[in-house]
Structure formats: C-alpha cells, structure tokens
C-alpha cells in the first residue's frame, strides 16, 4: 500500500529510524550515540505527521493496512521526536513533548510514551505565570501530558485540579492580558484562548471518563470530545494560529485514541459482572495499581475483534508476550460465567507448570474475588484427595468455586474420572495458557487429547487458547470450534517496548605479560524478524578481572561472557541470567558473585527470605550469601516456595541478578530489564536441544519495562566465532505454525505404529494416545462398530489432520494400527475403566495388576498409619510395582540416577519425605555421590523429589489404590484417598495436606498440625483463618518462633504482602 507522502520519504525514513534506534541503543547501553542528521529528521517527522493527519482524515474503514500505515507513521514520528533536541523556550519545549506523546498514543505506543514521561518528565512549565497566555498554554500542555502519562489517580486528580484553578484565575488575568495585546493582534489572541479553553474542557472530560466511565451521566465519550474539538477548529479557523491549530488537531486524534484505549470503552455494555470488574480495576486505590487503559492487543481482542460480544465457541488469541493475555482471559471468563450463570457453570484455567498455576491463581483471586467470583486451584498431583473433593463439591451458590486453576494433566484425570458430573455444574470455558505447548514432545499430546475429549464430551464447553504468536491460529481454532471459531492474532506490529537482541562475545586486546592478552566484551545488536533495535556499531563492555584476568581465560566458557555481560546490563536494572543445568546455574551465580565488588544494602525482604532459607536448607546454604549480594537462583533443584520467593525479590528489584535454568522461559510472568543467556539450550536426556522459538520469544518478550528507560536487552553469550554464528542462526529461527506433537511421535515410531498394543513398553509417550482411544471407546458405550468409527474419533484430534497432510503414509499406517487396537479393546474382560481412573494405558494397567499380584500388594497393604512407618514393607512392594509401569518407570529410575531399579531405596526416601525429614537430611542420606558436594546433593535431591519422585509416586499410588483396594468400604477408602497426597506434599497427616494446598510451607504445615490443637477447617475457612492470624497466633500454631517467619513467607507466597 502506498501513500503520496510516505513513498517519497521511505528511504530517508528508514535511515532516520535506524539512526534513532542505534542512538537509543547506545544511549541506553553505553557508548557514544551516532550523530543525527537533524534536518533530515525534521523533514521525516513533518512528512510522517502530515501523513498521519492525512490518513486519519481519509479513513478507510475495515482496511487494516491503512490503519497499520497510520499507526506506523505515528509511531515512527514519535521515535524520532523523542530523540530530537528540545527547544529552549518552555512552551515550545512543552509543545514538542506533547506532540511526541500524542503521536505515540496514535501509533499505539501509549505505554511507551507514559514510561517516557514517567522517567524523563517534561520541561518545567510556568503554571503560575502572570502572562495569561503563557499560563493557559502551560496548563493545557501539562494536563494533556498527564492524561497520556496516567500516573495512577494522582495525574487524573491533578488534571481536574489544574483546570479548576485555570477557570478560577481567568477573571483575574484574562482581561488584563487582552488589554495589553495590540489591537491588531487582540482578536487572534482571543481566538487562541477560546481554543485553549475548549482543550481544557476536553481534557477534563477525558479525565472523568477514565475513572468513571461516564461524564455527567453520558457514556458517549467520542461525541463529547468532538463537541469541543470542533469548537477549537472553529476558533482556529478564524485566525492564523500556527502553534495551536496543528497541535489541537493532533490532540483531537490522540484524545479519541485515549478514549478507545480506555477500559470502560472496551468493556461497555457487556454485562454487569464485567462492569463491576472494571470498576474494581479502576478503583484499586490511589497507587499505580489502578488499571485505566487496555493495551493495544487487548483492545484489539476485546473490542475490535469482539471477543467479549462473541459467541464463538473456540477462540485462539495469539499475541506477543506481555500483551496482557491474562486480563483478556479474565474478561472472557466473566462473560462465560455470565452466559451460564443459571447453570452455575465453571471455568477451567490451565497452566503448564505448578509455578504458573500458583501465579495465575493468585492473580485471578486478587482480581476476581472482590467481585464475588470464587477462584480455587487444585494441585497438579494426579489424584483428587479428600480436601480437593470437598473443595470441588461443597459450597453454596456464593462460596462454590467458579474458576478452577490447574494443569492440563490434572484436569484430564478429573474429567476422565467423571468430575464434571460430580461437580454437578457444567464446564463452560477452558482457558489454555501457553497453548503452544500442544506441540511439546513430552506433554503436548496430553493437552491435545484433553481438548479433544472436552470438545466431544462437555456439552457447554467453549475454548480460549492463549499462545505467543503462531501463524496458524485460525487452523487451531477451527479444529476446536469448526465454523464457530475465531482467531485473534497480532504478529509483530505491536510490542510493549523497544528491545535489542544481540550477541556478547570476547574481543582480544593488547598483549599483556607472559604471552597473555587483555580483552573486553562486545555486544552486537543484531537484526531479527521482530523489529528489534539493531546497530552496526558494537557496544563495548569492560572486562572484569575477578571473573577472568586474561583473554584466554575469558573465552574459556560462555558463562564468563554471560557473567560479564550481566554485570554490564545490571547497571540499568535487574537481569535474568540463564544457563542450561542447575549445577551450571550455581557456578554462574558464583561467577557473578566474584564479579561483584560490593555488597548491596540488606533489606527486610531479603532478610526474610534468608531466614526462610536457613529454616529450609540450613545455615550454610550458599543461596543465603548470594541473596545478600543481590543474586538469586532459580531452578528445579529448589522448592516451589523458594523459587516463588526468588521471583518476588527479583520483581521488587531487590536482586540484581536472577540466575536460572533455561526452563524459566516457560515460567516467567514478570518484566525484567535484561536477559542474558549463557546457553540457549535445554538438556534433553543425555543430549541437548535448542529452546523453541516460542520459548525464546517468550523470555525475550519479558525484557524491558523496568529499570532505566524502556529498552529490554537480550544478550546471548558466545565464547567463540562458531558459537556466534550458531546463535545468530538461532535468533532468526522463525516461530512458525503450531504443529501437533502427534506428528513428531508418529515419525519417531514409524514401524511400531502397526502395533499400538505394545508400543508403550518401548515408547511410553504413546500411552496418552492409546488411553484416548480406550477412553473414547468406553465413552461411546463400547460399540461393536468402533473399528469403523475410529476414523471419526481420530478426526477429533488436531494431530491426525496434520499427520495426514504432512505424512499421509504414516497417517495410513497409524489408521491401520488403530484398527487393530480397536479389536484389542473389544476383547472381553478388559479393565477399561481403570484406564481412566489411573491415567495408565490398558497395557500398563494389566502389567501393574500382574506385578501387584506377584509382589503381594492388595487391599490389606493399605494401612494409613503403617504405610510410611519405617518397619513396614508395603511401600517397598508398591514401589516395585510402580517401577514396572512404563508411564512411571523412567521418572522413578532417574531419581536414583538411572541405576538399576531400587524400590527399597525409593520407598525409604518417600518415607523420610512424608515423615517430615528436612531436604538437607534427605539429600545427605540418599543423594551424596563421590566427588560431589553437599550442594550438588541438595540440588539433585530437590530436582528429583519435587520434579519426579513425589509427583510420580503420588500418581502411581493413586492408581494402585484404585485397582488393589477395590473391595474396601467407602469409609475406609475415604481414609486412604489422601495417602498419595501425603507423598505429593511431604506431610504425614490430612490436616497438613489442606495447609499445603493453601500454600503453607511444608515444615510449617507439619508443625501446625502435629500438636494438640491442629489447625483445621474447610479450605475457604482455613484460608480465612490463616489470613487473619497475627504473628503471635502463627508462633502459637507452629509452636516455635519460626512461626513469625513462616507467617510472613506465607503472606508473600499468597500475594498478600
């Protein structure tokens, strides 16, 4: 698409923007900014602004390209204007800043403008000038800049106050001012004032609308604004007002955009629940927590694409990271709840990791509970225990949960166990966060099959899939919703802030003594597919001798480069530094510590976390000292609680560095200033594999928004040229269409596709697929024609369609295998029900049943008081059974480092864990290895316990319980049902399970429930109790002084403090 003005300046524009980007980059990261060609810049700005005006006066409704051209022109004009020197005259300077800010808003860069104004402010304006013209202009510039900056309620209040003051001062100053103007100029002066007064009124209208959603009882904000802007035009049309008229026209466009961005406009007339929610978001105190605006992607989704008014059954929202997808989901959830209010429908919110489940549940609870929507989370443990049963089934209309946050795996098991019926209210919406995981080799198929199952079995269910940008969102949406589907995608045209992605490497310097060489680090911001800032001029960062004294030492490892790059970036704000494995992470943290020449001041938050670490890991745990130095560590070897606390400190900018494994890319939900990657890979068994583009852009998307300026920097560390080249290719690896994990699985299985009966023994990842077949067969009433129906069943999956398109040969082969499998399912006496209740494949169920028989596990093995006692052997036998189940085997084996299966040792670890041994004790007893340190043992123990052993054992025991204790009575069964959760949470009584579900740290939960007066109650009651207990009450409940620390920690983990 072309435009008469833009076409002619396209070359100059590209040059100016590149030079502005490079300048911004150098100013932010050190080094001298390249000189700018001011006259070319000004010409570009004029052309861009004229084009913005021209495009807006010649609108082409429905033409996205027209709108995009307008927004890009405005955004580029802003980019140039904010980097131009500002005039000395205060009004000219103020007008310059206001013009830039208006263009930013029009260019959908309002958030950037707000940050720019928050950090840089604007020139001092003579709001009290005795010259009425100056005073009026100053006030107008000030109020409009505040409307754009929107520093919470403070700016909004100041706007109203300034305008009121201006009105009050009019009589004292205006007449005198007009008298002093020469008669030939007085009419122009009067007309200018009239225009300014209308701008004041328009500002007042906008300020009121932002917080109240109405002005003088009227909701039609655009018409109200038009009234005043039209009158400004009428006044300026009567004179040559070169300053006022163009600026007023620009303000008019900006005001309409501000109104469109307003959360009230976007959510108007949806339903009363949404209105109450918005009111609540706006009213969040006078701090900066109040939300007045939506981001452009949110506006696009909610208003322009009509997500809120839509009756689409499946919607895929594919937006860049940091687009505010959670808020979009909240609105959609409220709409679904409203739609099925009569039926008291509920919403499932699925997140991939335990950490994200916790984060999202906290966020939803804090946002939605004030408006009476009960949010609960269930643990990712693959068993529904008594506490969860109560939480899911109890409660009246007021206290019953309406949103349930959990992992796909847990929901899958719940639905297959018939929980929708037990809850007795319909599942009305499934929100899938990070839905691109559908192509994950390890967990993707489960998610896909879950969605397919819900789609065919939950009558009311609708879908909202949230993904980073994917190119085939429409295809995915159609899979779930057929014709009744929609996709809302935004690729690269919007990003929340500027970003630079580059490679940091070591550069050889002058010769030093003893044949060694000096060096420095250089950062090369590279071009990427996503409009990141690049510069041909490299940026130099100093060497840090304490990390590496010479060139040869520095280039020895990417960790050295990463540590020095991180130090350079940390001057701007907190930095996440990533490495591949937990042991590498510890070493990298140590390097960062070496490079720190001073210990930052301590703080109550840091001390609290250090106290907690002492309680959990002992006084010598290295993280305690690292935290003192402003370095946090985050990996799977640490408990969830500790990881959450690290994030908490980091978000509060109390840590300079958060050193994490690359897996954090999936779990970060907060902004960072910089990201440094010592590795761009994940460990994959004994090999490594590159982080997916989605994960890379997910973490890259978090960079920016805090610290100095708004530039997010992502530096990938390269120790040599070869690595540099590899990283360059990696950065430009495009994230493409979302695929199904089934395709990769089918390619890997190839010949085994013919024999699905035994495939799980060598390829346990196929378990999910064959379980899906078994479940569907049972669900369809085990029809004799199942073999013929199977193709239809397969069509319910996304993967089969993809496979047919990509590898028709394998699709046919799979179809053949599925036909044989159908015959297998139809054999008489198959324990099909157990497939759903256990989450095992049919073959695995049978294997486990045989093993249980051989090892003597039966109903009498289950004794609540004995199972975890040291002298009881039942658990050992049970572990022996679990070690034979393909779905569990690999995880359990790897706990002990892949050695020969050792059920006895696993049973001992589980018992110590359940009986309250500390992590340190378990680590030193079971995980010490020759040549390894205690820290290695603790890290290994942490990873194995929370990542593998407890979850896998809890799942396995739950499954085993269901087929070996079938003959126990209900009362006895109810007692046994919590045993798997004891393993999951590491506690040995049912009261403690409830506390753990509520997020109470393990040792505290044990203390609080093991005395004479254990803390008890239903989950909502307990949560309330915990919230209202003061420090003394926690100390009493814990029965020692540690209660004070635990209380504070719990409140932090709950998001209360």
């Amino acid at each position: 698409m072309s435009h008469w003005l833009l076409d002619g300046i396209s070359e100059a524009r590209a040059e100016c923007i590149a030079s502005a980007n490079a300048g911004h980059l150098h100013r932010q990261l050190g080094g001298e900014a390249p000189a700018l060609d001011e006259s070319k810049w000004r010409r570009c700005i004029e052309a861009l602004e004229l084009a913005v005006t021209d495009l807006s006066l010649h609108p082409q409704p429905g033409d996205d390209k027209h709108e995009q051209m307008l927004r890009e022109a405005a955004s580029d004009a802003f980019r140039l204007l904010r980097n131009l020197p500002i005039q000395i005259d205060e009004l000219a300077a103020g007008q310059h800043v206001l013009r830039a800010a208006c263009l930013a808003v029009i260019g959908d860069r309002g958030a950037d403008a707000a940050r720019w104004l928050k950090t840089g402010g604007w020139p001092t304006l003579s709001l009290e000038s005795s010259d009425w013209r100056v005073r009026t202009w100053a006030s107008i510039i000030d109020v409009w800049l505040r409307l754009i900056r929107k520093n919470g309620w403070t700016d909004r209040d100041a706007v109203l106050e300034r305008i009121a003051t201006l009105r009050q001062s009019q009589s004292a100053f205006e007449t005198e001012h007009l008298r002093t103007v020469s008669p030939v100029e007085s009419k122009a002066a009067a007309l200018e004032l009239i225009g300014l007064y209308h701008l004041a009124k328009a500002a007042e209208i906008l300020a009121l609308y932002v917080t109240d959603g109405r002005v003088d009882g009227k909701f039609q904000i655009h018409q109200l604004l038009d009234t005043h802007f039209d009158r400004v035009a009428a006044a300026t049309g009567e004179a040559r007002l070169l300053e006022l008229e163009p600026l007023a026209r620009l303000l008019g466009l900006c005001a309409h955009q501000l109104a469109d961005n307003c959360i009230w406009t976007v959510t108007r007339a949806v339903n009363s629940r949404v209105t109450t929610f918005v009111k609540n978001l706006v009213d969040r105190g006078r701090g900066d927590k109040a939300i007045f605006d939506v981001l452009p992607p949110q506006r696009r989704s909610l208003a322009e694409k009509g997500l809120l008014g839509s009756s689409r059954r499946a919607v895929v929202v594919s937006l860049p990271t940091s687009s505010g997808k959670t808020l979009i989901a909240e609105f959609r959830a409220l709409q679904a709840l409203n739609q099925f209010d009569h039926e008291r429908g509920w919403v499932a919110y699925l997140a991939p990791t335990r950490t994200l489940v916790n984060q999202i549940a906290r966020r939803l609870r804090s946002d939605l509970e004030p408006i009476g929507v009960v949010v609960e989370q269930v643990s990712p443990a693959l068993e529904v225990d008594n506490i969860e049963i109560e939480l899911l089934t109890k409660g009246d209309r007021k206290s019953e949960f309406r949103i349930l946050v959990t992992t796909p795996e847990k929901l899958d098991l719940m639905l297959r166990q018939g929980w929708e019926a037990k809850i007795n209210r319909p599942l009305t919406l499934v929100i899938v966060d990070e839905a691109h995981n559908i192509q994950s080799e390890t967990r993707g198929l489960k998610l896909e099959m879950l969605l397919a199952t819900i789609n065919s079995e939950c009558e009311r269910a609708q879908f909202l899939l949230l993904t980073p940008f994917i190119s085939n969102a429409a295809e995915v949406a159609r899979w779930l919703g057929g014709q009744n589907a929609d996709d809302i995608s935004m690729a690269v045209e919007w990003q929340p802030n500027d970003r630079a992605i580059g490679i940091a490497h070591v550069v050889k310097g002058a010769a030093m003594a003893k044949r060694s060489h000096d060096y420095h680090i250089t950062f090369e911001a590279v071009h990427t597919s996503k409009a990141t800032l690049a510069s041909n001029k490299h940026i130099s960062w100093p060497k840090i001798p304490a990390i590496a004294p010479t060139f040869s030492k520095a280039k020895g490892s990417p960790a050295n480069v990463a540590a020095m790059a991180a130090h350079a970036l940390a001057r701007r704000g907190p930095v996440i530094v990533m490495h591949m494995r937990p042991d590498f992470v510890w070493s990298l943290a140590d390097l960062l510590k070496k490079g720190s020449d001073q210990i930052p001041a301590t703080s109550p938050s840091k001390q609290l976390v250090q106290d907690f670490l002492r309680l959990e890991y002992g006084a010598s745990f290295p993280l305690i000292d690292l935290v003192a130095r402003g370095i946090g560590v985050h990996h799977a070897g640490l408990t969830d609680d500790v990881r959450t606390l690290m994030e908490w400190l980091f978000e509060r900018e109390e840590l300079r560095f958060l050193v994490a494994t690359t897996t954090i890319a999936q779990g970060v939900n907060f902004p960072v200033s910089g990201v440094v990657l010592a590795s761009h890979q994940y460990p994959d068994g004994n090999r490594t594999r590159d982080m997916s583009p989605e994960d890379f852009w997910n973490i890259a998307g978090r960079a920016g928004r805090i610290g100095q300026g708004d530039l997010g920097v992502i530096a990938l560390a390269a120790e040599d040229q070869a690595k540099s080249d590899k990283l360059r290719a990696f950065i430009n690896h495009q994230s493409g269409a979302l695929n199904s994990a089934l395709v990769a699985l089918a390619i890997a299985a190839e010949s085994q596709l013919d024999n699905l009966e035994s495939i799980v023994y060598s390829k346990p990842e196929w378990s999910i697929f064959v379980q899906y077949l078994a479940h569907t067969y049972r669900q369809m009433g085990m029809p004799e024609t199942f073999a013929d129906d199977i193709e239809q069943v397969l069509r319910n999956t996304y993967g089969f369609g993809k496979l047919r398109a990509e590898r028709p040969d394998l699709a046919n082969r799979l179809l053949g295998g599925v036909h044989s499998y159908a015959a297998f399912l139809q054999r008489p006496g198959q324990p099909l029900k157990l497939v759903d209740s256990t989450g095992f494949s049919l073959q695995s169920v049978k294997t486990a049943m045989i093993a249980a028989g051989e090892l003597g596990v039966n109903s009498s093995s289950w004794n609540r008081d004995q199972l975890f006692a040291s002298n009881d052997r039942s658990l050992q036998s049970m572990m022996g059974v679990l070690l034979r189940v393909p779905e569990l085997r690999e995880n359990l084996n790897s706990v002990l480092g892949g050695q020969t299966p050792d059920g006895q040792k696993l049973a001992l670890i589980v018992k110590d864990w359940v009986n309250g041994q500390s992590m340190q004790q378990i680590a030193t007893t079971y995980f010490m290895k020759e040549g390894k340190t205690e820290l290695d043992a603790m890290t290994d123990c942490g990873r194995q316990l929370s990542g593998r052993l407890t979850q896998t054992t809890a799942w396995g025991l739950g499954a085993l319980l269901s087929f070996t204790a079938g003959d126990v009575d209900d009362e006895h069964m109810a007692q046994l049902r919590n045993l798997p959760s004891r393993v999951f949470y590491g506690v040995n009584n049912d009261d403690a399970i409830a506390l753990r579900l509520l997020g109470v740290p393990r040792m505290a939960a044990i203390s609080m429930t093991s005395g004479d007066r254990p803390l008890r109650g239903s989950t909502p009651d307990l949560r309330q109790q915990l919230r209202s207990m003061d420090e003394a009450a926690w100390v009493r409940a814990c029965r020692n002084q540690d209660g004070a620390t635990y209380r504070k920690i719990w409140r932090v983990l709950e998001g209360l403090d």
Partner: protein
C-alpha cells in the same frame, strides 16, 4: 474601465537563483480601480469579518467566562492598517504576475498573535513546469528615503525573514501542517499535496520565495540589488527567490483611503 494600472520597470537584476526588479505604478483610473476592485476585496473580507459567533458559541460549556473575549471579538477591526493593504497589494501583484494562488488569503490570515511564531506574511501555491510549489512571501512597506530602507535589514528585516522561512525547519513544518487544514477537502488539496511532496523530497528546497517592498519613494536599484545578492549566497537550488519593489504613485499612508475609493 480597466483595473490594471500601467507599469514601468525601473530596474532589473539577477544573482544566481535570485532576481529583482523595481516596478512603478502610474497613477490614474487604472491604478484606482486596481486598488478599489482587486486589492480592497482582499483587505475587506466580508466573509471573514466578525464572524465570531461560531467561535464564541459553546464557550459557556467549558466553564470559562466569555465576556472579555466577546468584547474583543466584537470590537471593530482597527481602521488604519496600511501594512495590511500592502500585503493585499503584494498578493494581487503576485497573483497577476506569477499566477500565485492563495488558498486562504483573507482577513483571517492576518490575525496572528505577535507572541506566536513569525511564519510568513504570505503563504500560497505556484506552479512551474513540474507542478505546484509553495510560494512564501514577506512584505514590507517603507517611505524612508534611504536605499535600501531599514525594513530590509536586521533581524526583523525582509532578508533575514526570507532566510528564516527557507532555513528554519520548525517554522516551515508548522506552516506546512497549518496549511494542510486550509487545503484539505478544497480544490487546492491536490496542489497542496504536490507542493508538500516536492518540498519534503527536495530537502525543503523546492519552494518559491517572494519579497515585496512597497515604496512611495523614487525608484533606486539599491533597494533590492544588495539584498538580492546577499540572499543569493544563502539559498540553494532549486529554491528561487524574487524580490519586487512596488513604487506607488501615492503615499503609503494614503492607501487605506484610496482603497475605499477616497481621494488621495
């Protein structure tokens, strides 16, 4: 009766892209009707005169008072504005001799708060072989018997002003944006677009500058020649500049009366 006065070219000269000439108007019916018919309509813009109801309307809804403003706007325009007539004379001259069109050339254009940007006295469009260009002009009136008169020199002088218009991107940008709203959705829109495009694509050089000096003294090439050469050193191709000295057959001070058909 013809409304074209007979003219005499007293002197002419050029230096690079600058040309100048001194033009004398002969007195008589031709000149009289030129003033009363062509120039006067540009000064007495009935359409633009005191049409302030639209601007005042609705001011009450802003919560600001309108009494003082109404008083100012409803007051008569100052009577004696020979400089305004000088500008109108220049406009007519440039329209007739160079085909310059004025998209918004009325009374309203002269209302310009002194505190505001200087801008250009005259803003119009002119065509050449490649299409339209902006025509920007400065007008000065002087009865001073020095050659050149003071109004040609110094910071407020014509030369400096022309140089500023051509060289100050800020001013030029303001003019460009302001003029856009005068031309959009009018027959001038295509010409404006062409001129804007040419201006921006030529590094702000595709523009025509005019300096008009209204004189009631004897013609003297020194009025323009020295200044013309000075400007020639400052402007760059393809900018062109034309300076004209318009020598009246009457006193400048008499112009207001002559325009209304009054006796000299």
């Amino acid at each position: 009766m013809s409304s074209t006065p007979s003219i005499t070219i007293h002197y002419e000269g050029t230096a690079q892209q600058v040309s100048w000439r001194g033009i004398g108007y002969a007195d008589g019916d031709g000149f009289n009707s030129y003033l009363t018919q062509k120039v006067a309509v540009r000064v007495h813009d009935d359409e633009g005169r005191n049409q302030f109801e639209g601007a005042l309307r609705g001011l009450a809804s802003t919560g600001f008072a309108n009494d003082s403003l109404r008083a100012i706007l409803e007051a008569d325009e100052p009577e004696s504005r020979d400089w305004a007539i000088g500008e109108a004379l220049a406009e007519v001259h440039l329209a007739e001799t160079h085909g310059v069109t004025w998209p918004w050339h009325t009374e309203r254009d002269k209302r310009n708060p002194s505190a505001s940007l200087p801008g250009a006295d005259l803003v119009g469009l002119i065509s050449d072989s490649q299409g339209f260009l902006f025509a920007l002009g400065e007008v000065k009136c002087s009865s001073e018997a020095t050659y050149p008169p003071q109004v040609m020199n110094g910071r407020g002088g014509m030369v400096h002003q022309l140089d500023t218009i051509a060289g100050d991107l800020h001013i030029l940008g303001q003019l460009l944006r302001w003029l856009y709203h005068r031309c959009v959705n009018t027959p001038h829109e295509p010409s404006y677009k062409q001129a804007a495009q040419r201006l921006l694509e030529s590094s702000n050089r595709a523009v025509r500058l005019f300096g008009v000096l209204v004189r009631d003294t004897k013609p003297d090439h020194k009025d323009l020649s020295g200044r013309g050469k000075a400007i020639a050193k400052k402007i760059k191709t393809p900018t062109q500049c034309e300076l004209s000295a318009l020598h009246l057959p009457c006193r400048i001070a008499d112009l207001p009366a002559r325009c209304t058909g009054g006796a000299p």
